[in-house]
Symmetry: C2
Subunit: 450 residues, 2 copies
């Protein structure tokens, strides 16, 4: 697979850059990336992906092969392409930190840079921030559905390609998952890695008993046995037999996994079988087409499940696999801008989000204001990250963002934590922005006809 | 981002490999990758992703860094990890060619290899084949909805990461799209690349007139003007004015794009405005939240739209963002295997798909048979691709697979081509497989208890 370099972008970014170059339009532009509307199945979003977005901006450059390709194969003007060789991101980035709970109309990042730098980065910034945000926002619902339980990302195989596999592991860990099954994600992001065995392992052996014994001997401290290849309860009985026999060799079975059928019902039966064999320390892990609702149902029945492997539906955010998000020009050369397309109008101006909390720290509401407005009682969510192309300070470590989110969740009103709540986003657009929009509309109506 | 190397896999593949190594289980295994069930919104699937799967198998190897990581950070046995240094894919791959129409229960690929090679590749093979197959299967519905129209992939920004952006461009081209907006996908896969301009370009200028004129001068042969930033019909009138003025400078506007509102209604009005200005050759391109149903509605109204930019909903296969697919052990050391987990039982044995066509070439039905069964009247879909770790012959070029699919679509009965048809898959499981399943079940019931 090709690397995700600077040509991982929409062609129109480059055609616009060629026009800007010809016009010598080099003024400072301000773009903001925001979500227009929540999917029906979400009450809030979790900001995620900033670390990769920052890496992208700081690494932005066209190499010889890129430039050659643009001239030779895409027909771009050689003079324009020559000007790309020195292009770096020299602008500013302000962003809401990863792990922050966010709502529609709130800029997740704001890019302030010479026009062509700010324009060029649109496609990949959206690609990076959109994806991790949808996954973190789905994964956090699983976390809310099973408080205190160990959740493991199992979804690499049906994630949409390699980067989706890696970044969904990252985003779900940020959301509160305990581990991922994806080895490379563990290496790349320092996430704990976990895994059990596949049905094929059991099938490749003469019978379950010999499979379980061989696996335990190969993993004497941490074997988790998959017991549903043929018949779950019979599998549990065999696992219990093997665990007792292995104990005499000094080998401890850590747990069993159930992957099919009535997971809660099986968990009760399997727990009873294990307990009757004196194996109270052997944990039960459940997996198979799980999402937040399936997990909540199992928890509601009080099933003795210690952890859940959650895959496809989380990694693809299956019930809401995309967000209505955009990266829009808010100002150029100091003049506020507004798109008025039907159903897609944007709020103009350079913005800040002010979050208010009550005396107990509980989120009371957000105001989307102009960055120039007085802050008042709110805490500003957008923070300076890059200035003049340089990172101001290292970004928080992933585990710190994960803790930030855990704290935010504890301070989130129940109406937003509920999986099927219908509370509208607690977001107000400041009067200053509404007034600016009205002024721009009045002015643009004139010039658009010009 | 880290590269998609051999550690882009589920941990359990490696824990199983360590156990197989300890047990000296080195026999030949046969695994098949198949889809259990169609999503409710699909009548057929398009096989896609084989080229990347083959690259992956042929490039399979653990480098020093991988091995170090497994010992130092993941606690794998050094002796086992040493054995991975020489691991290559030395087995066989049989596959249904890309661009073939396929149905559930049909193996898309069959891997025949020493157990640990065949097991290790599970996660990434699924990751690669699943994704392109869902995208091609979604994109082909858009192609069916707008026969003869020019469709362009616009979805990079909301595709799930970099690889999803690139591979969805590839899969949609395979399905019949004309081009992609993603520059790197054009370079990597030789796909035509197309693009227009963003609203920000218009907004950055004093007014639409100056934006359109400047863009046309920068792209004198192929400018497509986005006319809905403020008011679509007024934008069309300005575009027409600019086009006429530009013509006097020898510059030809190629088209206009509409991205919001009632696309069909606007298209009629915009066509009238352009035609009245004598600009019959200027095309109309529509985009904005499109999928096969939106396109079909626009076509049904007879709207004068020449092409469609289709993004997010296609690239994420938004109404069915995953398939219920699996990679399952079918035989080990010549003995057929079957998983019997509740709701997830598999058909055992090494299989072939036999496709029957009527005298006119129209698909009449598929039989999933044992590979050893007589072929009878059907044409076998699975073909040898890799033997003993070597590619037998170059895979078909992407455009050849695209033509293959176009031919297959022409031979697909209307019940399957219909966007909202409900015809069940035309797939029969051969009696030989049913008999084998019954024999295995009888035998396994005994040993599972053992």
């Amino acid at each position: 697979m090709p690397a995700a370099g600077v040509l991982l972008t929409d062609l129109y970014e480059l055609t616009m850059l060629q026009a800007y170059h010809a016009e010598r339009m080099e003024g400072v532009a301000v773009f903001e990336l925001f979500v227009r509307k929540l999917p029906a199945q979400r009450r809030f979003l979790v900001a995620a992906g900033l670390a990769q977005a920052v890496d992208y901006l700081l690494g932005l450059r066209f190499d010889d092969g890129d430039c050659e390709h643009l001239v030779r194969d895409r027909g771009f003007d050689p003079g324009f392409v020559a000007s790309l060789r020195d292009l770096r991101f020299t602008g500013d980035l302000d962003a809401i930190p990863e792990g922050t709970i966010v709502f529609p109309d709130e800029p997740l990042v704001r890019v302030t840079a010479p026009l062509r730098e700010a324009q060029l980065v649109e496609s990949r910034l959206l690609n990076l921030l959109h994806f991790q945000t949808i996954v973190a926002s789905k994964a956090v619902r699983c976390v809310l559905a099973a408080p205190g339980k160990r959740l493991v990302d199992f979804g690499m195989r049906r994630a949409h390609g390699a980067e989706a596999a890696l970044l969904s592991a990252r985003a779900s860990y940020l959301a509160g998952f305990a581990a991922t099954a994806t080895v490379e994600a563990g290496r790349a992001f320092g996430i704990p890695v976990a895994g059990t065995m596949a049905h094929s392992y059991v099938q490749a052996h003469r019978d379950e008993r010999s499979a379980f014994a061989a696996f335990a001997r190969a993993h004497p401290r941490n074997a988790v046995l998959l017991i549903d290849t043929y018949d779950t309860r019979r599998g549990a009985a065999i696992a219990a037999d093997v665990a007792k026999a292995m104990a005499r060799e000094g080998i401890a079975i850590r747990g069993v996994r159930i992957d099919s059928g009535d997971l809660a019902g099986h968990a009760f039966a399997v727990r009873a079988i294990l307990d009757a064999a004196g194996l109270r320390g052997v944990t039960i892990f459940a997996s198979g087409n799980l999402d937040e609702f399936a997990v909540r149902d199992i928890e509601a029945r009080g099933a003795p499940v210690d952890g859940y492997g959650i895959g496809t539906r989380m990694n693809t955010s299956a019930d809401a696999p995309y967000l209505d998000c955009a990266y829009k020009l808010q100002a150029y050369e100091g003049v506020a801008k507004r798109k008025r397309s039907e159903g897609k109008a944007t709020w103009p101006g350079v913005k800040q989000v002010l979050r208010r909390r009550d005396a107990g720290g509980v989120l009371a509401g957000d105001v989307v204001a102009l960055a120039a407005d007085p802050i008042g009682e709110g805490v500003p969510l957008l923070e300076p990250v890059i200035r003049a192309g340089r990172l101001l300070r290292p970004l928080p470590a992933l585990h710190a963002s994960r803790e930030r989110l855990a704290t935010e969740l504890a301070q989130l009103p129940a109406a937003y934590r509920s999986l099927d709540g219908s509370a509208p986003p607690p977001v107000t657009i400041a009067p200053s922005i509404r007034a600016l929009a009205a002024r721009i509309d009045a002015a643009t109506s004139g010039t658009a006809a010009g």
